[in-house]
Symmetry: C2
DNA sequence: GCCCTTATGTCAACAGGGTTGACCTACCTG
DNA sequence: CAGGTAGGTCAACCCTGTTGACATAAGGGC
């Protein structure tokens, strides 16, 4: 918390930058989101932000206490983007599935921000609403208070964990990402059969490791959750 | 791959640093691992590494092409550490569970490295062996080649995703981590009941969100996997 | 319509980061 | 013992977040 609201949300004196831009928290977040996927990895920095807004980098600190503060605001923006217009399916597992896919889609669209955002608690409006939505789905499904919170917790962490992992891979410089992907059809194909018999046995299936396990994992998790729900 | 083995693993001419230390890839990795959890977040840097080894920072580049190369080597070291002495249980779900807990324990012990390591493919010996072990467990359980790879993929990504998330939280500066944790017993307790009825209904259970969902998620995932295995 | 306060943009500086190319020296091979 | 070169060192480059002093224009009170 410590001074989290020392920076006023509403400004009275609006003064344009040297480049004629009228700064605002929203504009800064917009620009940050744009920067982060226009430029390559590490594309987002206070200095680049300053350049993009044609203002001095330090002006950002008039709107956010630190880059961490800015990151949390960005994270909340992404959550809002993910959940905008979401109406949960009547079937609770389908509802959770839909929510998971939305969150993943947004995080993959902003891989570099995803890494920062996924593990944080923004404690801001959009996150409040998302948690409200998720818990409501589970309560309506018949989970008790404790069960709903437990289920939501493991669900959302699984979704965020997978998404963060995929995003981190996407956020790598091209050369590294491709090298990582090639590993399964390359280095892993060259492991000696005698010392790695299991790898040898599945050699022609290893390419699957290069892709995403998100939906498969999600479906298995929901299968498990359904079973837990049914059996008490 | 590009030049991945341009740096020879074995050295002939061993020449001590000004501080009298005989460098080696292993010693550098050792020191890096130690640094990363002796000092706080951002405790690991090439320059600090140089200081700890009493050598010039740039000497590290004689052993690793870049920090990324070093990070992969560290990741592989952690995998080795996690799997050392691991003997899978006869029950395949118990075996996977044991493997998951080991990986998580090591990643949580080195939170800052975990964030770097979890999403990468080290394509090095220890990782080869770990994948071999995991696939072997699933083949022995009766999964076919494709099923074993699919199951391993979604299993390991779930484990790594959760572990990375927890590690990222642990790697935060104390103030930020505590603020994130407090959110559930603090900011989330203050959401208006009328706009957030589900949150209101589970208010006294929300504190659970602050802890770890790892084991709960793991158990639900294994439950799901068991069902998938049984029904096909 | 002016003046004062102060919010807010600007500037310069600091400490730290990865990486590179030139240098030089001590080691190993022959 | 001589020569070639691996490998440690040094200085430089450009990047990063952050801070404190500074200046200026905005807007409220009169």
């Amino acid at each position: 918390m410590a001074g989290a609201n020392r920076v006023p949300a509403e400004r009275r004196r609006r003064r344009p930058t040297r480049g004629g831009v009228l700064l605002s928290a929203d504009l800064i977040i917009d620009t940050a989101v744009r920067l982060s996927h226009e430029h390559g990895p590490e594309g987002l920095s206070v200095r680049r932000l300053g350049a993009a807004l044609s203002c001095d980098p330090s002006a950002v600190y008039r709107y956010f206490h630190s880059t961490d503060d800015l990151h949390l605001a960005i994270a909340d923006r992404l959550i809002g983007e993910a959940m905008r217009g979401f109406t949960p399916d009547d079937d609770w597992t389908a509802a959770l599935r839909g929510m998971a896919l939305r969150i993943r889609a947004v995080l993959l669209a902003h891989p570099r921000l995803a890494v920062l955002a996924a593990s944080r608690v923004t404690r801001r409006e959009n996150e409040f609403r998302a948690v409200e939505t998720g818990i409501a789905i589970l309560l309506r499904a018949g989970f008790g208070a404790a069960g709903a919170v437990r289920a939501y917790h493991l669900f959302i962490d699984t979704v965020l964990g997978h998404a963060a992992l995929e995003a981190a891979a996407l956020a790598l410089p091209d050369a590294r990402r491709e090298a990582d992907e090639r590993a399964w059809t390359d280095a892993y194909q060259s492991c000696p059969d005698d010392t790695h018999p299991a790898l040898a046995a599945v050699r022609h299936e290893l390419h699957r490791m290069g892709g995403s396990a998100f939906e498969a994992a999600l479906d298995v998790l929901l299968t498990g959750l359904r079973q837990v729900h049914a059996s008490g």
